[in-house]
C-alpha cells in the first residue's frame, strides 16, 4: 500500500551544507575584530584632520530631537493647503486663463459709442430746431433772387391750365411766344438736367 509523501515546507527541508565556508572560529571573535578594525580606521581618518570639522554647539544633540520635531511641525503648517485644494486646482487655473483671454470691455461711460451717440443727438436736435424756425419763417417766399425766366419756366412746367391762363393775362402774346420758342429749344436738355438732379 502506497502512502502519500508527507508535505514538508521548503524552509524545513535539510539545507545543503558548506556553500559559504568560513574559517574556523570566524564568528566567535567577529564582534571584537570588527570593533578593532573600525576604531583603527576612524582614528586614522581623524588624525588627518587638524581640528574637529563637525563642531556643534554644546548639548546640540540633546536638543536635536526637539528641534527636528519643531521643524517638521513648522514645515507642515507653512505649506498648509485648504482641504480639497488640489481637487479644484486645475479647473481654477483654467478659469483664470479664460478670464485673462477674454477681450476687455471698457465700462467707462466716456467711450466712443457714447460720445458718438451724444453728438448724433445734438446734431439731430439742432437740425430739428432749425427746421422748426425755418418752418415759421418760410411762408414768406424769397422769389426776388430768382430770375424771371426761371419763374416763368416753373409756371409753364408745373402749373395747371388755370395758372397758365392767369399768367397769359399778365404778359402779352409776343413775350409768351418768345418764351415758348426758347423753351422748345431747350426742353430736351432741361429734361436731362432734371433727371440728373433728381
Amino acid at each position: 500500500m502506497k502512502t502519500e509523501p508527507e508535505y514538508i515546507p521548503d524552509f524545513l527541508k535539510p539545507k545543503p551544507v558548506q556553500i559559504f565556508s568560513v574559517p574556523q572560529d570566524y564568528f566567535s571573535h567577529f564582534a571584537e575584530r570588527l570593533e578593532v578594525n573600525m576604531e583603527s580606521k576612524i582614528l586614522s581618518e581623524i588624525k588627518g584632520l587638524k581640528t574637529n570639522p563637525f563642531k556643534v554647539p554644546e548639548s546640540y544633540f540633546e536638543q536635536s530631537a526637539l528641534h527636528l520635531t519643531q521643524l517638521t511641525v513648522l514645515k507642515k503648517e507653512s505649506h498648509h493647503v485648504p482641504p480639497e485644494y488640489f481637487d479644484t486646482l486645475s479647473s481654477n487655473i483654467l478659469k483664470r486663463i479664460e478670464i485673462q483671454n477674454k477681450p476687455t470691455i471698457k465700462k467707462s461711460i466716456f467711450n466712443r459709442t457714447w460720445i458718438y451717440s451724444v453728438a448724433a443727438m445734438l446734431v439731430l436736435s439742432v437740425s430739428l430746431f432749425l427746421i422748426q424756425i425755418n418752418k415759421h419763417n418760410s411762408t414768406e417766399l424769397n422769389l426776388n433772387a430768382i430770375e424771371e425766366d426761371a419763374l416763368l419756366d416753373y409756371v409753364f412746367e408745373n402749373a395747371s391750365d388755370d395758372d397758365a391762363l392767369n399768367l397769359m393775362e399778365t404778359f402779352n402774346t409776343s413775350e409768351l411766344n418768345l418764351l415758348k420758342l426758347d423753351e422748345s429749344l431747350n426742353n430736351e436738355s432741361i429734361d436731362e438736367l432734371i433727371q440728373e438732379y433728381q
Partner: protein, 140 residues
C-alpha cells in the same frame, strides 16, 4: 470737360437755369412744408416721393403743351388732338391717384388735403411776383 462747357454760352445759360430751378424747388419745399406743417420724420419720407411725382407730372404737362403747339390742324388732326388731350388728362389723374395713395401712407389725410391748395398758392405767389416785376419795370 468743364472748361469746354464754360466757354459755351448756351451751356452756361443752361447751368444757370438749373441753378434757378433748384432755388425754386427749395422755395416750394419750404412753402409746402410750412403749409402742411410737416415734421422732420414726415419730410424725410414725403419729399423723395413728391419729387418723383412732380417729375412725372411735369412730363405729362409738357406733352400736353407740345400737343397744343400744333398749328393748322385739319379735321383728322383735330380729332386726334381732342382724343390725345383727354388721354393725357386721364393719365394725369391716374398719376395723382397713385401718388396720393403713397402720400396717404406718409401723411394724415388732413395734411394731404392741403397739398393741392398749397401747390396752387405757391404758383400764384410766383405769378404775383412776376406781375409785380412787370409793374415796376413799367414805372421805370
Amino acid at each position: 470737360m468743364s472748361i469746354i462747357h464754360a466757354q459755351d454760352p448756351r451751356e452756361d445759360k443752361m447751368q444757370n437755369r438749373e441753378r434757378m430751378r433748384e432755388k425754386i424747388e427749395a422755395q416750394r419745399i419750404a412753402y409746402i412744408t410750412s403749409k402742411l406743417d410737416l415734421n422732420a420724420d414726415e419730410s424725410v419720407k414725403f419729399w423723395p416721393v413728391y419729387n418723383e411725382y412732380t417729375k412725372k407730372r411735369m412730363e405729362l404737362r409738357k406733352s400736353r403743351r407740345d400737343l397744343r403747339d400744333q398749328e393748322e390742324m385739319n379735321e383728322q388732326d383735330s380729332k386726334k388732338y381732342v382724343e390725345q388731350q383727354i388721354e393725357i388728362q386721364e393719365k394725369d389723374l391716374a398719376l395723382k391717384k397713385i401718388y396720393y395713395e403713397k402720400f396717404g401712407n406718409i401723411l394724415s389725410s388732413q395734411k394731404l388735403a392741403k397739398l393741392e391748395e398749397a401747390e396752387k398758392e405757391f404758383t400764384q405767389e410766383i405769378i404775383k411776383n412776376l406781375k409785380e416785376r412787370r409793374r415796376e419795370n413799367r414805372m421805370k
